[in-house]
């Protein structure tokens, strides 16, 4: 018998309340309960980074966080990155550099790259590559992605 828990958290700056079972991942609740479909399910085991979000500013795989763990905490998803004024510079640079092909991994890459630039506004290429090691792209290769991140850091 599922025992649902009542969770209150801040998601993309807004207070959100939802019911979930303890076994549900944050990824599952974001997509299926809260309708935030930008966060993608790839491997569902922590290897691919498609489901990346930040939890209290820390980059995490939302497939490896239980939704009940975010009680009282703050989550930012890909939907929280652009503003009313327009795209985030990272999003803009991903477009300019054509740093995507199918686009499935892109939300994860953008969220991960933003977490990097938030703590290191001027990373080296090596630092970008190491930081993004937990994000897999199976279409394009990584050069364009790395270039987009470095360009966004410059701007």
């Amino acid at each position: 018998m599922p025992n649902k828990m009542h969770i209150t958290a801040t998601i993309n700056g807004e207070e959100v309340q939802f019911l979930c079972e303890p076994r549900q991942s944050l990824l599952e609740v974001l997509r299926e309960t809260l309708g935030l479909m930008g966060t993608k399910e790839g491997c569902n085991n922590g290897n691919c980074g498609s489901c990346n979000v930040t939890l209290d500013g820390m980059l995490v795989n939302s497939c490896l966080v239980l939704a009940v763990e975010i009680q009282g905490r703050s989550v930012t998803t890909i939907e929280g990155i652009a503003t009313a004024e327009g795209l985030h510079p990272l999003q803009q640079k991903f477009i300019e550099h054509a740093a995507l092909q199918c686009g499935y991994c892109t939300p994860g890459f953008i969220v991960a790259s933003k977490a990097l630039l938030d703590q290191n506004p001027d990373p080296s290429e090596q630092e970008v590559r190491e930081w993004l090691a937990g994000n897999l792209c199976r279409c394009t290769g990584y050069d364009r992605i790395v270039r987009a991140v470095l360009d966004a850091a410059d701007s």
Binding site: R23, E41, G49, N61, V65, L66, A133, G134
Partner: protein
């Protein structure tokens, strides 16, 4: 069409039923965890970062009726350094928390070598060293490094608190020495003496986000202005059913001069004791070869950090 539909249906049901239902609690004290474990009928599981546990629950490799999230117990997430005695790492402290701790960076670079290798940033931000230990993987990166630092586990259970050296904690692949009702509270790592140095490195096909083909940790304490070994310790990962403390390699070096020949001989001893298997990550033969190479390099790293001087 029917075939495709049935595949989709099966993918969908696997995903949705990914984890069996369980209860979830967030205790605030160690004593509460002990009570919860005692009442848990053996299917209570401790949750720290979840990077192993949630994957194992999803894949059905472990079962849980109750998940106990210990991250709200201050003692479990704290890192405390006492220069006179030891570093105490709460079992739930995350890898990134440990690797950004100024005392850990300053006094335990050999531990940082190993801990910063566990997964990418996303995993570092969640995974705990306590969990790496409890998961008892033969290839766990932190364990050889903890062994050569003479780290000790602090274990709490129904009969009180007791300690166990890290090298005795893992007993088989995926199995640790915790008895029913016990859990790992913290890990004590003795404060390094002057002229102590340690290092860890591993061989993997890519640069990050991989599991060790072989891992090697070494520590040394040097005498005679860095020209002679006081003691040395060597431990290996991924070459036996558990992380392997190779006391013979360190014992060989004790009291000997810091020479290339002695270091190579210690590496050969470690290599001869390793008993790797062939699996998808590498052949037994390749792993044997890597043991000697990595132990030599790990010893070199430890000697450099200890301010050693090689004799000709």
């Amino acid at each position: 069409m029917l075939h495709a539909t049935s595949i989709m249906a099966s993918i969908d049901s696997t995903r949705r039923s990914g984890m069996q239902a369980f209860d979830y609690v967030v205790p605030k004290k160690v004593e509460e965890v002990i009570t919860l474990l005692a009442n848990g009928n053996g299917d209570a599981r401790i949750l720290c970062g979840g990077t192993d546990l949630l994957v194992q629950l999803r894949e059905g490799r472990r079962k849980a009726g109750l998940v106990i999230d210990i991250k709200s117990i201050p003692e479990l997430t704290q890192i405390k350094f006492d220069p006179e005695h030891e570093l105490r790492i709460g079992a739930a402290a995350s890898c990134s928390q440990i690797c950004s701790d100024p005392n850990v960076i300053k006094h335990y670079p050999g531990l940082v070598d190993a801990i910063k290798l566990i997964g990418g940033v996303q995993i570092q931000n969640r995974a705990s060293v306590g969990g790496n230990l409890c998961n008892a993987s033969p290839a766990a990166d932190s364990i050889p490094a903890l062994i050569v630092h003479e780290a000790v586990c602090n274990i709490a259970g129904p009969n009180g608190v007791h300690t166990l050296p890290v090298e005795e904690f893992c007993i088989a692949p995926g199995q640790n020495a915790l008895q029913a009702g016990e859990f790992l509270v913290s890990i004590n790592v003795p404060t390094p003496k002057e002229k102590f140095g340690a290092g860890y490195l591993r061989f993997i096909p890519r640069n990050e986000m991989d599991i060790a083909v072989v891992g090697a940790g070494a520590s040394v304490f040097l005498a005679d202005e860095g020209k002679r070994f006081g003691f040395a310790k060597v431990a290996l990962g991924a070459v036996a059913p558990t992380p392997l403390f190779v006391s013979e390699a360190g014992d060989f070096l004790a009291e000997k001069a810091v020479t290339r020949e002695n270091i190579k001989e210690a590496a050969r001893i470690a290599q001869s004791i390793a008993r790797p298997i062939t699996d998808l990550r590498g052949t037994a033969e390749h792993r044997k070869h890597l043991c000697a190479v990595l132990v030599e390099r790990a010893l070199d790293k430890a000697i450099e950090r200890a301010g050693g001087q090689y004799a000709q």
